[in-house]
């Protein structure tokens, strides 16, 4: 159980539903460990600012988290958390291990950039 205020994904079906139904999704897959907790905290802080992005977490040791652990893009990852960014249901970026606020924001701003019309 991840003790965060983020939306928790419990099953592979939850994961699929979230990325299918939302244009921009960031999911952090980890444990309640020192490299993971800072990333959850960053996501909690960004939820109100990045309202066009859905934020969620998934427990790394949950068997259903194979959808993240076994993703081809995580080949070579040897540090938790695995943090995944999905655009229109497709994985567009994945990172391994702890990330800073500026690193996360720079990915969100690049991958989920909002187009201003007019």
């Amino acid at each position: 159980m991840l003790y965060t205020n983020l939306h928790h994904l419990m099953t592979a079906a939850d994961h699929q539903k979230l990325i299918n139904e939302n244009e921009n999704v960031m999911i952090c897959c980890g444990r309640m460990g020192p490299m993971c907790i800072p990333v959850y905290g960053i996501m909690e802080d960004l939820e109100s600012e990045y309202t066009h992005v859905k934020f969620a977490d998934m427990e790394f040791d949950n068997p259903e988290a194979y959808v993240i652990r076994d993703a081809p893009e995580t080949r070579g990852f040897m540090g938790i958390p695995f943090t995944m960014y999905y655009k229109n249901g497709k994985l567009v970026k994945a990172t391994s291990s702890i990330q800073s606020m500026s690193q996360v924001k720079s990915i969100l701003d690049k991958e989920f950039a909002q187009v201003t019309v007019g």
Binding site: I37, I42, I80
Partner: protein, 320 residues
């Protein structure tokens, strides 16, 4: 600037020292703001179990951080997390802290508790392979290296104790250390030396990391002969101490040669009204308990300073 952005005290950093200062100041009814560039808790949240914090038999660093944060908030302390300081004006009587998002806050006193961070080797490939074979947390990533051969860099207690703990997973652990002796306590050295899975490469240092998708090998330089050998490895765990997060304080307060903040016994820095506490100050023992102690002293000294300042300003306004 509106008065709402003025505080009696601003605390820069939210580890145990900063949160303790926030608890004491807020409880004394001083309007206090804590600014943190990360999640409140600092390096305390990096500790899975704290078993030597008096009064608490065992607790995770994350839980203890949350309790301290809650205590501070309950006393009215305001906390801004994941926010970077872009500039500081500490010299004037009214101190000013400007954040990277442009918000500015002023205060009568400032307590600096920026803490420290794990030292990196700072050699080619280190950033590329972080999370792809390079780790700074054995308990987080140890299981990725089950039946693999790994390297541990360092010669202090953390390096040797984590090397022993990593033998639960790894088939072979090679400790690379720059000196011919260890800084760790004897018991830690003995435990590592008696472990059949642990080997040692002394007076040597990693100078480059190599691999494709993940780390595959490192160059290890013998510091006596200058000879460099390529060493195949699946992972490298780096435990080479900490550095103070004081880059933003250069030319602002007095630092020593290791960029640690110089303080008096009451935690006052070289600048009146500016105090410091925790891992970033000049001291020998860096523990949660010592950070809490420093934070307490800094808060009480800052309280005294603010009180004197307010009394003096009130007196001056009445006599003019």
């Amino acid at each position: 600037m509106t008065n709402s952005s003025h505080f009696d005290a601003i605390v820069v950093g939210a580890g145990p020292a900063g949160l303790t200062a926030g608890i004491y100041l807020s409880r004394a009814r001083f309007r206090t703001l804590i600014i943190s560039d990360g999640v409140p808790g600092g390096q305390m949240i990096l500790t899975h179990e704290i078993a030597n914090y008096p009064g608490v038999e065992s607790i995770s660093g994350y839980q203890l951080s949350n309790i301290m944060k809650k205590q501070a908030k309950n006393f009215g302390c305001e906390i801004l997390g994941n926010t970077e300081v872009s500039s500081l004006n500490l010299d004037d009587e009214r101190k000013e802290v400007v954040l990277s998002d442009g918000r500015a806050f002023t205060s009568d006193a400032v307590i600096l508790t920026p803490g420290g961070r794990s030292r990196t080797l700072n050699v080619p490939g280190e950033a590329k392979f972080k999370g792809r074979g390079i780790s700074y947390c054995a308990t987080c990533d140890g299981d990725f290296f089950t039946d693999k051969e790994i390297v541990v860099v360092g010669g202090g207690n953390s390096a040797l104790e984590e090397a022993v703990s990593l033998t639960k997973y790894a088939s072979k652990v090679t400790i690379v250390h720059q000196f011919d002796h260890f800084q760790a306590f004897d018991y830690a050295v003995e435990e590592a030396k008696s472990n059949p899975k642990i080997n040692f490469i002394m007076e040597s240092s990693i100078v480059q990391f190599y691999g494709e998708d993940k780390l595959e090998s490192v160059d290890i330089k013998n510091l006596n002969t200058g000879e460099i050998n390529n060493f195949k490895t699946d992972g490298v765990f780096i435990f080479i101490g900490y550095v103070a997060n004081t880059e933003f304080l250069k030319e602002k307060v007095k630092l020593n040669q290791w960029n640690e903040i110089v303080v008096d016994s009451d935690m006052s820095t070289s600048i009146p009204g500016v105090f410091a506490a925790g891992d970033s100050i000049v001291k020998r023992y860096r523990q949660v308990t010592t950070a809490v102690g420093d934070g307490t002293v800094a808060a009480l000294a800052a309280s005294n300073y603010i009180h004197q300042l307010k009394t003096r300003n009130l007196h001056e306004s009445l006599t003019h």
